[in-house]
Symmetry: C2
Subunit: 537 residues, 2 copies
């Protein structure tokens, strides 16, 4: 299908006109009952409240036109069916399908990409048997004890998503099980994690699609060395998640291997074996499947053509309105749920690595803004920190609040006639309103300009299924935006140059006469810098 | 002293001219040996390498003029000596001194603000005796056992700084000691922390200057209730850090009280008792004092008039160059040290709450940009995540790298002739260079535009003393920028409106007929929203 450039879409002209006079949220009756009722959309247990965005029916109509004209849902369907979307026309690239949705398209008799889903089912079945062996005591350590800890060793896509989701669902952990994570090549990261472990009862899952990720292989060596020093056989404690037939697909070195495939990008891999092994270990196979089911249900929602019923598409378009027409360079993700404390970091990766691009799918330079800077921390904590700038700073920051009506764990307390959970949710709503309406004051330091666009995403409870839906919601929001901007959201050429330079500098360090020992970088920073200046061009 | 508006400073005209043709880092010889040697500044163990910023000698001269004309060092000295800088002329406000530096001005016979430093010394002495009682076994639990865990209960400034620093220095923890943190009003946050504790051997330090912070008081109740249910006497496990004579200064309810003062803002309070109690517990009094000494040494550096010797001032001015003249809305803090993983979150608070303002110290609206959006995550993790956008996205993101030549813990491993620590530092330098120089390529998707401004801050090792210096470096960077922008960096009026609205909404929830029980927010979100729409104006 021929892709149009974003700026060549007719709907963008109309949207640019409308952006001249965006909806004024500070007018006396701007936030009326009718608006709250109308600007609300629901799917998979989530209510999306967007009355506090600077838009109206005319903008929504134009956004629908934009979606139709850019064939966003058609592109989404092509993605799910296995089109080679990870490419730049006429130039060398990954040339891959984009099939993370296939990893959870296992709840229907008619999956969109049958071959990939068959493979996903095979891996899930391998995992089910593996988890069953652990649960039934058939797979134990050398002393016959059960394994209590699973440590995921990976970085980027092999770390952030699984870590964020694992933390989000910690309340549902099986008794006697826990997950830990090692990512950074910083040896202190590994040392800190290893220091807190009973190695004899720990499994390590090494995650690298290529089997060549520098950080992960280095940390694997640190882990192997620690196991050996503790008198344990590394092979009995290590699992691999890697590409079939790759360098890490080696039963001589790993207790078991689970496969990931080229057509699932790292940042979209949380529902593949990259996330499933750890989540299955801590939550059990049943809860893991609930998580996948939630994601799958949102995948189906993404097929709807009407933007008001298609939650990820609607959020994508609201984001484009704020980014391209109201000119906001960032977007804050503000979960009112401590369990989601690392979810913004996962989205930061997923969004910025996908849409931080300046070249179209035809290799032309874009003349419009693409992906914003994504950042955020949980509320209410953030209210006592950076919200000052969101309310009164000189940058407008679109905010996305995520909350739940019920908490995960039983503990709560009523103080001044409201529970903590009520305080949490009410604070979220209060912030949404405060940002939108603002407030006049005779004291200029107490004046709030308002018109700070934001939306609220709220569900009953953060369960495994709801987490799956939330993950897929954002995955597709990102993909829809990439389709609309006519960029390839699925490669990451921008990480290469740093790798190349690092390799050159490491060569200098490895062969320099001043090479130090152990944990010291003996070659001073300056020496390296000065030396490189001549050779790296 | 009469403050000038930023846009009224003569130096800004010159800087705006220079910004028309900023230094081009992508030219073949742009990053030469001479430049690396010249654009380097050192203090308190840190080397600041800023050859990879888009500036030259002419810009530095103009920035020196800006500093002189705006009397930045004079204002800094006034701050240290106790001037009432937390105010807006002619309008009601906090009307307070700004004396966080006094809390560490204890290493000289001639402190700048003697009265405040005397009080700081008194609290430090109280803390020393308290820690001694713990160490000598005079202060134990009901069973005569030592306390192993200190849980800090606070939010915002009473949480983020102490948490970040505690994590940064975890490698130096005394045997048998640990710190934990509870902040969010989300009851799941408290539940998750309490679930992992031996309550009988835990102390809780409740931190609130006013003694009225909603989240903290609510979490204190949850803690008290958990202690009581475990058959323990809450008073024997609770400490208070609060204002002298305030509602929490009550020996009937707390084992001990340590004081904080009005003239130390929450986000600048890490070197007061707000941070000292927890750091003293985990690190011991000696290491705590080393941390304070590092901060104090940087406080002294901040007095220098020459911007090339004054590290915080130089960083402030480079930030202003990027923000106001090169037009960058954000700034990324990228520590190559897993121990600093929460330091960006602390700076996000400290910077954005301080400088996210739109009103001058005379109550006029600013017509220039103030504080940027601060965000970041540790490298090398980020390289596998959001760096794609920093390299190839449509927004320019000034980056600040922070690294150390040696790691904290002994563990390291050599793979391919380099240690993990070497890989870590070399990756940081490679990113700095890659962002600056960019790279041409026939494949447009593999083209790197370069000219992405960044700096590197590097020291030998992240010790308590070095951490103190790093903290103070950023505190003063922020203060200098606030002085230059002629804003009050020390109030936070922007957090008020959300509080007011939350109180109103909570009143509705508390008195609504549909009031639920326990952990459920029975009044649906929409109901609350609709109801408020009529009454909150």
């Amino acid at each position: 299908m021929p892709y149009k450039d974003f700026s060549a879409l007719n709907a963008t002209t109309r949207l640019a006109e409308l952006a001249g006079i965006p909806y004024d949220l500070t007018r006396p009756d701007a936030l009326n009952v009718d608006r709250f009722k109308t600007l609300k959309s629901s799917a998979c247990g989530f209510d999306l409240l967007f009355a506090t965005e600077r838009l109206d029916e005319a903008v929504l109509d134009a956004l629908q036109e934009l979606a139709d004209e850019a064939k966003l849902v058609e592109q989404f369907m092509a993605m799910k069916r296995g089109a080679v979307l990870n490419r730049i026309e006429g130039y060398a690239g990954e040339e891959r399908q984009v099939l993370h949705t296939a990893s959870r398209d296992v709840f229907t008799e008619e999956p969109q990409a049958p071959e990939a889903t068959t493979k996903a089912k095979q891996e899930l079945e391998k995992l089910r048997l593996f988890l069953d062996d652990l649960a039934q005591g058939r797979l134990v350590n050398a002393k016959g004890e059960s394994f209590t800890t699973l440590v995921q060793v990976g970085i980027g896509g092999s770390d952030l998503g699984p870590r964020a989701i694992s933390l989000a669902l910690q309340a549902y952990t099986l008794p006697g099980r826990e997950a830990r994570f090692i990512a950074n090549v910083d040896p202190d990261d590994t040392a800190a994690v290893l220091a807190g472990l009973d190695l004899s009862r720990s499994l390590f899952v090494i995650v690298s699609k290529s089997g060549t990720t520098l950080e992960t292989l280095t940390n694997e060596e640190l882990v192997r060395s620690a196991l050996t020093q503790a008198g344990l056989e590394p092979k009995q404690h290590l699992l691999a998640v890697t590409g079939e037939g790759g360098p890490m697909d080696d039963t001589g070195r790993y207790l078991a291997s689970f496969y990931m495939y080229d057509y699932i990008g790292g940042r979209y891999s949380a529902t593949s074996m990259v996330g499933a092994v750890t989540l299955g270990f801590t939550l059990g196979y049943g809860a893991l499947m609930e998580f996948l089911r939630g994601a799958w249900e949102m995948d189906v929602v993404g097929e709807k053509v009407d933007i008001r019923s298609n939650l990820p598409l609607l959020m994508a378009l609201i984001g484009i309105w704020n980014r391209n027409f109201l000119g906001c360079p960032t977007c804050a993700i503000l979960p009112y749920s401590q369990a989601l404390s690392r979810f913004p970091a996962h989205l930061q990766q997923c969004d910025m690595e996908s849409n931080g691009k300046s070249v179209t799918r035809q290799g032309r330079a874009v003349d419009w803004k693409t992906g914003p800077i994504i950042w955020g921390e949980p509320g209410t904590n953030g209210q006592h920190a950076f919200y000052q700038l969101i309310h009164q700073g000189t940058e407008i920051i679109p905010a996305e609040f995520i909350g739940f009506r019920r908490n995960q764990r039983g503990l709560d307390i009523e103080v001044s006639k409201t529970t903590s959970q009520e305080k949490l949710v009410v604070n979220m709503l209060a912030q949404s309103l405060a940002l939108a309406q603002g407030k006049e004051d005779d004291n200029p330091a107490r004046r709030f300009p308002g018109n700070r666009p934001n939306l609220v995403l709220i569900a009953e409870q953060l369960t495994p299924c709801q987490m799956g839906a939330l993950l897929a919601l954002y995955e597709h929001r990102i993909a829809f935006q990439g389709f609309c901007w006519n960029i390839n959201s699925f490669d990451q050429e921008g990480v290469q140059l740093g790798k190349v330079l690092a390799t050159k500098l490491l060569h200098i360090v490895a062969h320099s006469g001043t090479k130090g020992q152990g944990a010291t970088v003996a070659t001073s920073v300056e020496e390296v810098l000065l030396e490189q200046a001549g050779i790296l061009r």
